[in-house]
């Protein structure tokens, strides 16, 4: 950093000394105080629902971690700062976490603008930013302190394309996608994979997140005459599209991305989502022990509530954070290095999760092909709908 002026340097070293002093105080109290993770995410504002779901997943994972003796005898805890998924607030939170010596790593944020605006601060401050819902292809390119367990769309979308084209035998597809960085990236990977499998893409339509009326879009879809609809949607808009598609009389097979996988999709979609196919990363009857522990624990803790995809991401993220901190301890740089060492962490989404050090992401998400039958997600039995 030859480019900092002298005053800054003086001040910087002063700050470092103060931080050091604070740090050694923290070190004295080490045995009793919990290891603290910072979480930056939306608790209010338009994305508040996702922050709430994160909390549910985190708290469940923490219960299990604490019950198993914590991290080398110390408790693990998190401090959740509400960013409203607003970049102005996420950068302030980033400085707050970076200058708080108790924080050993950070999780979040939710949206790409909020997360990636904070990345330079985490990178320069030497604090890991662990973005577990950040599928933007450039997120981990922000620096070697950016790590992500978000399922890469380069991995997920070919699985969905294989389900739709090879297994369900759809040949001419209409793709409806959320017009965000996630939806757009997903669409491109899906279209590429579907074409490789020999399907034709009849029409693609991007819609904004606040959209509620899809009737005119569906007329466009109908006129393109596809034999299947692909939804790259979240559960609330996915349910709206499915309902309106059935209302305007479209009877084609609907196949949706894993992000609709939520009991809310069934509740909001009602009868219209019957027979909708969903490619997911896990399913309720999945015999894998980590899935069964997760689902049983979740239902027990939240009085019978079924967990959804975002709960699972958060649960996995907290378990991954625990595994990393077990290796790296409370030192920030050691925590960063621990991401390269951690191996085969038990995960609902990946089965066993190990980071690819090059891309700082996890490859090889699990795959389950589900269909909605009698108002429940069930493993697809191979029968046409």
């Amino acid at each position: 950093m030859s480019n900092i002026d002298r005053r800054t340097l003086v001040k910087g070293s002063l700050a470092a000394m103060m931080a050091g002093a604070a740090f050694s105080r923290a070190a004295f109290a080490q045995s009793s105080e919990p290891i603290l993770l910072g979480v930056s995410g939306p608790l209010t504002g338009p994305n508040a629902q996702y922050g709430t779901q994160w909390k549910q997943g985190f708290d469940l994972a923490l219960d299990e971690i604490q019950a198993a003796g914590g991290i080398n005898g110390r408790k693990l805890a998190y401090s959740f700062e509400d960013s409203q998924s607003d970049p102005r607030q996420s950068v302030a939170i980033a400085q707050k976490f970076v200058s708080d010596p108790r924080i050993v790593m950070e999780l979040g944020d939710f949206s790409s603008p909020a997360s990636m605006a904070a990345s330079p601060i985490y990178q320069r401050g030497g604090l890991v930013q662990f973005g577990f819902t950040n599928s933007h292809p450039d997120f981990t390119k922000g620096g070697d302190f950016m790590w992500s367990t978000s399922v890469s769309q380069a991995d997920e979308q070919p699985l969905l394309a294989a389900y739709a084209v090879k297994r369900l035998g759809l040949k001419k597809l209409a793709v409806l996608h959320l017009n965000t960085d996630w939806g757009r990236t997903s669409r491109d990977y899906f279209v590429k994979a579907a074409k490789e499998h020999g399907a034709e893409i009849a029409v693609t339509e991007g819609y904004i997140a606040e959209e509620r009326d899809f009737r005119s879009t569906l007329v466009r879809v109908r006129d393109a005459n596809p034999d299947g609809l692909i939804l790259i949607s979240y559960y609330s808009d996915g349910a709206l599209i499915a309902r309106q598609a059935r209302q305007v009389g479209l009877k084609q097979v609907i196949c949706a991305a894993s992000s609709v996988y939520s009991p809310k999709f069934l509740e909001l979609g009602g009868e219209a989502v019957e027979d909708v196919h969903v490619g997911t990363r896990y399913f309720p009857e999945d015999p894998r022990p980590e899935v069964q522990t997760f689902i049983a624990g979740f239902k027990k803790k939240y009085s019978g509530l079924e967990p959804d995809a975002f709960n699972a991401y958060a649960y996995d993220a907290m378990n991954m954070a625990a595994a990393v901190v077990r290796i790296g301890g409370a030192d920030r740089r050691a925590v960063r290095d621990a991401f390269t060492k951690v191996k085969d962490v038990s995960s609902v989404i990946f089965g066993k999760a190990t980071f690819d050090v090059e891309s700082r992401r996890v490859k090889g998400a699990m795959n389950a092909e589900l269909v909605v039958r009698k108002g429940q997600f069930a493993l697809w039995d191979g029968k046409p709908t």
Binding site: T44, Q53, R212, V248
Partner: protein, 607 residues
């Protein structure tokens, strides 16, 4: 060709849905000359009360509607009595800010009570579908159309033939004269808010049932579309609002048909701008109708600004300048960096809105133009960051002024609505013009701030950089206000007819104000882009425009120091309330309401 029939039907169906909100807005605007930003929140409250009634209490539909209407009307009465009536003798813009504060509070209360998760609101009508064209419609479509049209007709008849209706119209035309004629203006206002709120609540219920989905984010969208529809039909014109809504639905549907789904809202807002420019009183205003805004500028009432001695300003500037040398955390510095960036935006808006009286609700668009220009200049053409930021400012000044210039002949609220639409249009163009802006993927890897080859990456250097830029802009603006140019701006704001009679060219001065303001906002956006390293079409959204306006009104319209004080307050307060977690935006809303209540002219007063 059968598809066109389907597009037409779909447009009418969705227009139907917009009409429910637009009618309520039109009613309130007709009487109080107020865009009620809380109408969407009442709609939200109605939807959730309906959910409780339907899902928890299993009430039959007619009873549900009555329960929702009564409860929503009560909310409306409370808003009128405690939120707006105390403001009736203060600046005309204070109630506007109050409705924004009320909408924060109501949205947050609903979110805290019901959690932000979306909920299903099952329709209680039989599930039969009628085939029309290639699609079908259900009984709920007919019910919504019935409620929309019936309420518009009833209101029309009520306003025209009943005694209270006359009183309402008399109050709308001339409040003081109506009072002299013995009209109880408060009772009229109460009646209007009660009726509009009942309508708003019922529309939330019906729309929730229509989509089988309610969530706490639905309020802002409802307000936006309702405002567009209302203004297209002629603000304050109730039957016009219904026709405006249907027209809006049709334009959106045909837009989707021709250009695709992602262009939908672009057409909605283009329609609004075109209507405003060609027929500022709406499509259905009669030629002899009195203009809905007063001719002279009572929109922004002058007040005595608080005199701050020069030495105090110097001391404050000095303290903030040496702050990084004191032991303050980087978090505090970063928060203040945000405040300085918002301060630049507020300087821009306070000039445009306060000094020359063009209240803009789309100011975030100027940030976005500056940010994208600066980011693309430095990334694609390797322009040094310092120059790129200036380029962003210039582009914002040029493009912003060009975009707004067709609306120069508008007044009062209509300027706000036109700028709101232009703001949305800019954001949608950014989303769709992929070859330049990279669409939803956004621009990543924007180089960090640098000056003459030195990278400014530490919070301290960024702090000084943004602070100095803001102070320079503030000093320039102070000079401007003291010059004859500043006096001309204020003359136009206070009485544009007198100003014109005196020989001032309105358009030229408005352009000058927007050029200067656009530059400041563009520079702020440019710095933000290099600070964030990643931007996309959501980075600078409508909420930021509303925040900027709140800052400006809070600080005192046209007041340079006030804009900066307001920015520090509104960036600082939510951070201070962090300790309250989920409750912090609620507290923020309440504090905002109290400030408007007790300092409607702003903390430092209008200049």
């Amino acid at each position: 060709m059968s598809s066109w029939l389907d597009y037409t039907i779909n447009g009418l169906i969705v227009g139907n849905v917009y009409a429910l909100v637009a009618v309520g807005l039109a009613l309130i605007f007709g009487v109080s000359r107020l865009i009620n930003f809380a109408q969407g929140s009442i709609y939200l409250v109605g939807a959730y009360i309906g959910w409780v009634a339907v899902v928890q209490l299993h009430t039959p539909l007619p009873l549900t509607i009555i329960v929702v209407a009564v409860a929503a009307a009560l909310v409306g009465l409370i808003i009128e009595r405690f939120g707006l009536r105390p403001l009736q003798n203060s600046v005309r813009i204070a109630p506007l800010l109050a409705t924004i504060g009320i909408s924060f509070v109501l949205d947050q209360l609903v979110m805290l009570t019901f959690s932000p998760n979306p909920r299903a609101l099952p329709s209680q009508l039989p599930d039969v579908r009628f085939q029309i064209g290639g699609g079908t419609i259900g009984p709920l479509d007919l019910l919504i159309a019935g409620v929309g049209i019936t309420s518009a007709l009833l209101l029309f008849v009520f306003l025209r033939y009943s005694k209270l209706g006359w009183a309402i119209r008399a109050t709308a035309q001339d409040r003081d004269a109506a009072m002299q004629m013995g009209v109880d203006v408060n009772r009229v206002n109460q009646a209007v808010f009660g009726i509009a709120a009942a309508l708003g609540g019922v529309s939330g219920l019906l729309v929730g049932m229509y989509y089988n989905q309610i969530d706490t984010a639905m309020s802002l969208q409802a307000t936006l579309k309702g405002v567009v529809a209302e203004v297209v039909g002629g603000a304050g014109n109730v039957p016009g609002a219904v026709i405006g809504s249907l027209l809006l639905g049709l334009v959106e549907s045909y837009g989707v048909a021709v250009f695709g789904t992602s262009y939908r809202n672009l057409f909605a807002f283009l329609l609004l701008v075109v209507v405003l420019v060609l027929r500022p009183n709406g499509l259905f205003a009669s030629a002899r109708q009195a203009p809905p805004e007063p001719l002279t500028g009572t929109f922004i009432a002058p007040s005595r600004p608080v005199r701050i001695p020069r030495w105090a300003l110097l001391v404050a500037t000095g303290i903030f300048a040496v702050l990084p040398l004191l032991p303050v955390s980087f978090y505090v510095l970063q928060t203040l960096i945000n405040a300085w960036l918002l301060g630049m935006l507020a300087l821009s808006l306070t000039l445009v809105a306060g000094t020359i009286g063009q209240v803009s609700l789309g100011h975030a668009a100027l940030l976005a133009i500056g940010a994208y220009t600066s980011a693309l200049l430095s990334l694609t053409f390797s322009v040094p960051v310092g120059l790129a930021i200036i380029g962003g400012g210039l582009m914002s000044a040029a493009l912003g002024t060009a975009l707004i210039s067709p609306s120069f002949r508008l007044r009062g609220h209509y300027v706000s609505i036109a700028t709101l639409a232009i703001g949305e249009i800019v954001s949608l163009v950014i989303l769709n013009w992929e070859s330049v802006t990279r669409g939803p993927i956004g621009i990543s890897g924007i180089p960090p701030l640098s000056l003459a080859g030195y990278e400014l990456v530490s919070p301290i250097s960024i702090y000084w950089f943004s602070f100095i830029v803001m102070v320079v802009l503030a000093l320039l603006q102070g000079r401007l206000l003291g010059s004859h140019l500043g006096r001309s701006f204020r003359a136009i704001r206070d009485d544009d007819i007198a100003a014109r009679a005196y020989g001032l060219s309105l358009n030229r001065y408005k352009s000058l104000a927007f050029i200067f303001g656009g530059f400041a906002a563009g520079v702020s956006g440019g710095i933000a882009a290099h600070l964030y390293s990643y931007i996309n079409h959501e980075t600078f959204n409508t909420q930021q425009s509303i925040l900027a306006l709140t800052v400006v009104i809070l600080g005192g319209l046209g007041n340079v120091v006030g804009a900066i004080v307001g920015a520090v307050a509104l960036v600082g307060l939510p951070e201070v309330f962090r300790i309250a977690a989920e409750y912090r935006i609620l507290i923020y809303g309440i504090v905002l309401l109290l400030l408007v209540r007790f300092r409607p002219q702003g903390l430092l007063g209008t200049m």
